[in-house]
Symmetry: C2
Subunit: 230 residues, 2 copies
DNA sequence: ATCCGGTTGTGAAACACATCACAATTAAAT
DNA sequence: ATTTAATTGTGATGTGTTTCACAACCGGAT
């Protein structure tokens, strides 16, 4: 059983992440069928079952899947079944907001440090954190066993900040600045740009206006029915 | 020329949005070739050319595409070639941060109002806005010709807030709460969940750790090479 | 005028992915 | 035990998407 992530179709991987997320919101003991998941996701039941066969067999015919074990199996194959420490780079309005964000913990991400260049901000108490200086970055990263960072600096400083992060040992960066950044091949960046997200909505809007009613905006950019997802 | 959005493959649409975004960051007069775009996006040059053929012909052989006209053609077919007014629902830490966010304007999104339920917050001056009461929502939406909203209320209030928005006439909602919401079929929701974005990074991490070096995290969840996105 | 490097646009082939439809399996009821 | 209703897992099939490879084209140099 249990093929590896490489052999699973890209599109299936994005759905698996979605299933995982939904399963997290269900009570562990429950049983869920492919058609239950179908309703919640908008994907067909057959597709969901097929997605799962890519890496094993988890269901019992006639009943379905137990939430707990299925969620666990997916997390295993996706490689997200572990804790991660996270650092917040830049405690402007956005960074400060994230320091109070609570849903990271549910997903086993632990925000363990906040860093800024501005001497005015270094030393301030924000939420349960004391803001630390970017000069101590390497130490902070090492001591805290941190590999991921959320980048919330002003766009103009994005590239500089990224280089500091990489030098300090960070391997994965969630880029919330509106600025694209370059990184070495062995570092991952995931950009989140709210303006682009609004473009998706604008597209959906014009689609409706232009013709008859149509599907809602897909989560990843692909097939799916309605219902907001988080 | 110029087929309509319905006939363009879903996956191509998501790439087109990406091209559009990149072209926005280039000087209007310049000429860009499919291989230039290939470098910037990680998609193959052939695929980029193919994507464009779905709705017309814009290039000149031997030279490439003029940034301005290509960007415009893409915006037209995607239906995002117009201004949109946007409302911010909930001015907690996140909502307040967005009131100062500047890159919306570049994408022709105009934040024109901020609304909250909390009487303590109503009337406050934030950025260039005076926070208004959720009770005036319908009026605000009508007067401001607003069809899109960014939802930044606490998760527990998400569904209620969405219902208020829909009743007031909002047709598209960017959901920044970590809570899935239900909407009527004629309303679009686009969820943005930072914890899920971190999961993507965690996946990429474990992929590297598990074997040899590999691709960076794709923007939409699919093929692409390296380089941070915006 | 002609050549030449560079690039587009696109049939055709290859590939990836989704859907269909059903045998195999199970838990529960009788 | 046997039946029943439900649901999984998967060959086979069909559709959608990407890649390949190259003719047609353009602008500039000679």
């Amino acid at each position: 059983m249990s093929d590896h992530l490489e052999n699973i179709p890209e599109l299936a991987v994005s759905r698996l992440l979605r299933y995982h997320h939904i399963l997290m919101g269900m009570s562990q003991g429950d049983v869920v069928s492919s058609s239950d998941l179908s309703e919640k996701t908008g994907y067909t039941a057959a597709q969901i079952r097929r997605d799962l066969t890519y890496f094993g067999q988890f269901g019992t015919p006639g009943r379905g899947y137990t939430v707990d074990s299925l969620r666990n199996a997916i997390a295993d194959v996706l490689g997200i079944n572990r804790e991660s420490n996270v650092l917040i780079m830049g405690v402007g309005r956005v960074g400060a907001a994230l320091l109070h964000y609570e849903s990271f913990e549910k997903h086993r991400f632990h925000v363990v440090a906040a860093v800024d260049v501005d001497p005015e901000k270094v030393g301030l108490e924000m939420g349960r954190f004391k803001v630390r200086s970017v000069e101590d970055l390497s130490d902070i990263v090492t001591e805290g066993d941190i590999r991921m960072a959320i980048l919330c600096v002003p766009p103009a400083q994005a590239q500089t900040a990224v280089e500091q992060l990489v030098r300090a040992g960070i391997r994965a960066i969630l880029n919330l600045t509106a600025m694209p950044v370059d990184v070495p091949d062995d570092v991952s960046v995931r950009p989140v740009n709210l303006a682009v997200e609004l473009e998706w909505l604008a597209m959906a809007q014009s689609r409706r206006g232009g013709s008859r009613g149509e599907k809602a905006v897909p989560e990843t950019g692909f097939n799916e029915k309605k219902k907001g997802g988080d």
